[in-house]
Symmetry: C3
Subunit: 194 residues, 3 copies
């Protein structure tokens, strides 16, 4: 490969820096991260977006538009929070790896060969919600408080507070209860065997 | 952490550059991107691969092999277009975040402990198709024109033009119509309540 | 954008290095990678984590905690192997793009507003397993040898050796057989037409 001296030196320095950061992360956390996650601070990123100290946002996650995020909410890697039409997320939520929240789509734009506009609708998520890995929340959806969205769920309609949903599309499979002592129960609905 | 002066300076410069690029993206688009998406240009990447000016390809997306991409097609982040056996994608398509298109698999290789070869088959997608977030299109699949592939769908068999599919595995749930004035309708099939 | 000379030079050098690495990857493999995947070596990363030469781990994949990985196992991009409670993965496995393996969850933590602890349970995967793109394997799951986990599957319960599962949640759809000559068959269960 025909690199200039400067490019070759940069490549070498990036690789040696990567090695040192990786060693440090491994020694401290027994963990290896993508290079870009070792370069930047997840809490600093949460603060940058939200002004709050308690929010985690991984570097590989994109956030756009109007996106409000409550205290102690954790947003993992590979998420997209497309707030072009507005997203509100409450406190103490976990948005697991790869959560996608969409407030627009290009369905009509595509089908019409670019002649129809994008379509928009806001999304809201209450407090104390767990969003499983790779869940997709489509435009216009409201999710209440204390909900569980299963891994891989595609949420196409509203989810009332205290509900557990799962599947593609997401269906109710149970409810959550939290008592005065903060004890949590997941109460699954009876379902016919399949 | 035991960094050399050079590594420490590079780390510092990467962080300050990241901060400036992030400020610029935030001010211009009210958006925060992964660092690597702020470094490079999505249209330039589309041009590099396809020779066309109208194609967007995010930096986190990989493309390999024979992959033809039509005009005005948008390819978001975290996609893989594995064209080892060939992929054709038409014009005015959206490949939403995390779309996976596969033209090979290692099923037999794994099961046989490395004794059987990889298996291959091409994929094609027509014009004006919307592919939802995290959809996976398996090897050998042909998708016609003006189709909608739902978010999270796993497409295991062919999809005729004008069809809406969704689910794991993807099943037909309706059809698309576009009239002479480019008005779009999504006509959902009757389905028994579940 | 108000960059210092040093930042501007770094940006320029990163872009020119990116261009050269991309050209090299394209010429050698007819492929374009994310910038960070062109910087680092996938086999070196496998060796760093596991001490073995035959393991591939993409840079965008995170690994944490106790994660044992067998010989010749391939781990693609955008995966998370959360081994906080321990993960064992056998030999000759493919973990396709975006595979998520979880050994903890924050469901009770979220629902209780941070008053309940995280919950943990280990995961194991046998030898010669194929894990499809975007599959999610939840905490506590054991997968035997020679299994196929379909793309997009969410695995919530144990999978016996020689089983094919798919869907959200994952259900058995067939079995795998491998004869003495390493010939592989996927034998699908009869399922009622839907």
């Amino acid at each position: 490969m025909d690199l200039t001296n400067e490019e070759r030196q940069l490549l070498q320095s990036l690789r040696s820096l990567h090695g040192k950061l990786r060693d440090n992360t491994y020694t401290t956390y027994r963990r290896i991260n993508p290079f870009y996650e070792d370069l930047f601070d997840w809490k600093e990123r949460g603060r940058y977006w939200s002004g709050r100290d308690s929010i985690t946002i991984y570097n590989s996650t994109s956030i756009a538009g109007q996106v409000e995020i409550g205290e102690h909410t954790w947003i993992g890697p590979f998420c997209s929070l497309d707030g072009t039409a507005g997203i509100r997320i409450g406190s103490h939520c976990s948005l697991s790896v790869g959560t996608q929240i969409l407030t627009h789509d290009t369905v009509s734009w595509c089908l019409s060969g670019g002649k129809q506009p994008y379509e928009y609708a806001p999304v809201s998520i209450g407090d104390r919600c767990f969003i499983g890995s790779h869940a997709v929340i489509l435009k216009g959806v409201s999710i209440g408080d204390a909900c569980v969205i299963g891994a891989g769920a595609v949420v196409t309609s509203d989810v009332p507070s205290g509900t557990i949903v799962a599947g593609v599309p997401a269906r109710r499979i149970g409810k959550t209860t939290v008592d005065a002592d903060s004890r949590v129960q997941l109460v699954m609905d009876d379902v016919p065997a399949t």
